[in-house]
Amino acid sequence: MSREDLVAGSPVQVTGTVLTTRRVDAYHALTVVAPGIADRFRPGHFVTVAVGGRNTSMLTRRAFTVHDVKPDYGGTVELVFGVRGAGTAWLADLRVRDTLDLVGPLGRPFPLPRDPCTCVLVGDEHGAAALFALGDALQQRGCRVDFVLGAPSADRVFGALRARRMGETTTLTTEDGSLGMRGRVTDVLPGVIADARADVVYACGPMETLRGVTAVAAEFGIPVQVAVEERMACGIGVCMTCVVPVIGDDGVTRMVRACADGPVFRGERVRFDDVGTIPFDALGAPGGRHA
């Protein structure tokens, strides 16, 4: 099978064996053997995992960005997550050689520039995990990569070391000032963009951060690609629960699925102020002009 076939190929479900588990500051990282997923992976893709084992009472799959894929054992994927509920707590308790049900790769990956250019990669908390595969792909195309990573505190800044090795420059921010600059990623971003003369911004993190990053990029008039985090149940586009208001090519706002139509969108197309609502001018909004 050629590489192009794999790209066109669909996601697969695999029962993978856990190869390694480790703690990374406040987060957990799991490496799972999943050749079918590793082969098809592109930066920006995500995977979903079933949690709780057989006969689980937890019916929704948990979605995670992929930190890394490696060719060992036919192909492995590494997931990074923080414990936020019963499902992630179960994942954190997994041991080496346990099995995990994964579906992936899912979603639309980051579009990559055709010609070499300067890219600023912004990651807030463990959203930063998705940026390193992207950074690799960009550097292979001859792009300059600059990192801006942030979190509320030092133990929640993910990947600072790797960013320092990879990036032309790396700027860290924490809200409590325990690492790097005190503040948020959006506070330092204008300076980084100006110093690097950046051509494009890529961002991962909570909606509030993405909104701020998009606003900064808009000020500089450069394109911004954001990977949104929205609560999902299925990850494959059937449950319709992870919708966000996004403006289409025709100028019409639609409630689109973060999983199947995203998670990567052009920042200026996402109506961040209206996330969590149905904008009155969205297609099919109650009482709207299209209704």
């Binding site: 937890m58 019916l59 299925c234």
Partner: protein, 324 residues
């Protein structure tokens, strides 16, 4: 040897009894990434409405023990876009398509049925009766036998004779048999049950409802006993009416339970969110369970749990040995 899993919705033959539940299979394209849609007994669409609908605000989903609360609000592109982009794709792939329709008034249901009449690729029409009736202070059609029957009768009248009309019932009623009977009297060729009962969950951290809409439909294994009870009661009262059973089916055993209660077809819903291969898996497991119990026809098992205590299940061997 393979078991004969054919089943009938009124006169329409399905090669196997496993369907997708409305609103759980997307447009079909999403599931087709994992398994062929034509291998399903039938693909049931999300409820199609006349105009495009943006649905409810997020959060639309909350996980509960063995269940899932959702309030999507029938998001969809409207019937014209459905007929232009989604139905032809399903027809091309040889899927038998049951089109679910939803509306706020009897007129809207009728208009939808008229729009679908004569369109090729419509195997059956399922009437989603769990929509609020705009003309009756938002009371859900399915909660009132006469309102449900009125909708079913007008859809039946507008639908070609060779396309069965399936009435989808809600368990949130005092007497599900009365509503079922009213729908059959109104012309329903088959019944589907259960739609999701209404539930609610409150996030104790934010101290607000977990769903933006407040309440939502509860699905998943948590509601399966409710589904078995409804199918059982309706099959006991109306043994000749084909029933599509659904509610928390995740394995072949769950499907068999509904079949034993009286369902001749079984729809898989929330399980698809957990396992995109759920439909072919449930079908395979159901076939294995039938064979392990000595049955080679699905039809022999439909409603079998209703036989009197102590009676042996009738098998093919009995028939062969009889003088008939």
């Amino acid at each position: 040897m393979t078991a004969d899993l054919r089943t009938y919705l009124a006169h329409v033959e399905l090669p196997n009894p496993i369907l997708t539940a409305s609103g759980c299979g997307g447009t079909g394209r999403e599931l087709a990434q994992f398994s062929d849609v034509h291998r399903l007994g039938a693909f049931v669409t999300r409820s199609i409405t006349m105009a495009p609908r943006a649905g409810r605000p997020t959060p639309r989903m909350a996980e509960t023990p063995s269940g899932l609360l959702n309030a999507v609000g029938l998001q969809g592109p409207g019937v014209e876009a459905f007929l232009e982009r989604e139905l032809p794709w399903l027809a091309e792939r040889g899927a038998r398509t049951v089109v679910s329709i939803g509306g706020g008034t009897v007129t809207e249901y009728t208009a939808l049925a008229r729009r679908l009449a004569g369109v090729s690729g419509v195997t059956a029409v399922e009437v989603n009766l769990s929509c609020p009736n705009v003309e009756d202070r938002g009371r859900v059609f399915a909660r009132d036998g006469s309102a449900a029957a009125e909708v079913v009768a007008s859809v039946r009248a507008a639908t070609p004779y060779d396309v069965p009309v399936i009435a989808k019932l809600s368990p949130d009623v005092a007497d599900v048999v009365a509503v079922a009977r009213a729908c059959v009297d109104g012309g329903a060729d088959a019944l589907a049950m259960i739609n999701t009962p209404v539930g609610m969950s409150i996030d104790v951290d934010s101290m607000r409802p977990a769903l933006a809409a407040g309440t939502g439909g509860l699905s998943g294994p948590a509601v399966r006993p409710l589904a078995v009870r409804c199918v059982w009661q309706v099959h006991a009262a109306l043994p000749g009416v084909p029933i599509v059973g659904m509610g928390g089916v995740t394995t072949g055993r769950d499907a068999l339970e509904l079949v034993l209660a009286g369902a001749c077809a079984v729809a898989v819903g929330t399980a698809l969110f957990h396992d995109p291969y759920a439909c072919p898996r449930v079908l395979r497991e159901l076939e294995e369970l039938l064979q392990a119990r000595g049955f080679d026809r699905l039809a022999d098992v439909v409603g079998l749990a209703h036989r009197p205590a102590g009676a042996q299940p009738r098998t093919r061997t009995d028939l062969e040995e009889s003088s008939l």
